[in-house]
Subunit: 184 residues, 2 copies
């Protein structure tokens, strides 16, 4: 049933705990409150990034342009287990967040720096609730996105033609497929 | 910061408790677990529909086509307070859900019938967690949406030109504005 919710904006979660940098694409991510500004992201505890967030007690939500869809897919394709910096492994450069010290993606169109508030168990996943301490966006956002500079990555599932691919659509109706690194 | 998450699919929540039928558009709605199949929807407790769901201990999530964007906006424009059937007030026809007896929108492209599981307080909102008992979708969905028959309603905010309008985008890059009934 979860696929009925597609298309969903694919954000990138990033977090660092000591020398360990984690990151993963997430589509189960949404606001939960205006004031305090709360967001929720449902993550499987099997993901390495879940543990990094849990230990860091902070994380960032990065909104990427459609141009980065392939790179975001690659980030989802690899595991962070055994990697000290999963983000640089797929070519993401980071800067340090002002409010949290967490790694932020340098080419993000918008970023939310979040303090870990609590976690709720939800079946196969855990809902991480964060409070947004700082929000940043490029000039394409004033009150609302005008979608001139920012063209969102909308995750739309997978398809199996010659090989198994991730399917992304853009906010302008474009469609791109990215072959999975590890074919199932 | 919540607007950074746009565009987001606008679903319609529906619920009935005794003679009272409630309904509202929602964009803060996402899956929370594969198995059990859990969904979460963050709703302000000031909404009449929140109370109906809370009393009914069940609700439905309706995925509508872009053709219905205006009607969905109208549903968001009016309050259910003092209305026995908010859905028919804006012209929605309903059928009774098999699993829950809850009202489902007749022209929905997909519907999830949910059992109320619990509610988490999240600042200005309440996160209602539901378990999906039955999921239904039209022929445009097999494993994934192919988006031929179903063209999602993507909420993208408001704009103020001659009058204040809701802004919706479609999955194909179309854009439509719907004047608010009550101008702020």
């Amino acid at each position: 049933m979860h696929r009925l919710f597609y298309p969903e904006v694919a954000v990138v979660l990033t977090a660092r705990h000591e020398a360990k940098i984690g990151g993963m694409p997430a589509i189960w991510c949404m606001p939960l409150s205006f004031k305090p500004a709360l967001v929720g992201v449902a993550v499987s505890p099997e993901h390495d990034t879940y543990n990094v967030i849990n230990q860091a007690k902070a994380f960032a939500i990065n909104f990427m342009d459609f141009r980065s869809a392939k790179q975001v897919a690659e980030l989802g394709d690899i595991t962070g287990k055994g990697l000290n910096d999963k983000l640089s492994a797929v070519g993401f450069s980071t800067i340090e967040g002002e409010a949290t010290g967490q790694p932020l993606l340098q080419n993000a169109e918008a970023v939310l720096e979040c303090r870990f508030v609590q976690v709720y168990p939800t079946g196969t996943h855990r809902l991480i609730v964060g409070e947004v301490l700082i929000a940043f966006a490029n000039d394409s956002f004033r009150d609302y996105w005008d979608f001139t500079q920012y063209n969102p990555i909308l995750y739309a599932g997978t398809e199996n033609t010659v090989e198994q691919c991730w399917v992304f659509r853009s906010g302008r109706g474009e469609r791109v497929t990215v072959p999975m690194k590890v074919q199932p």
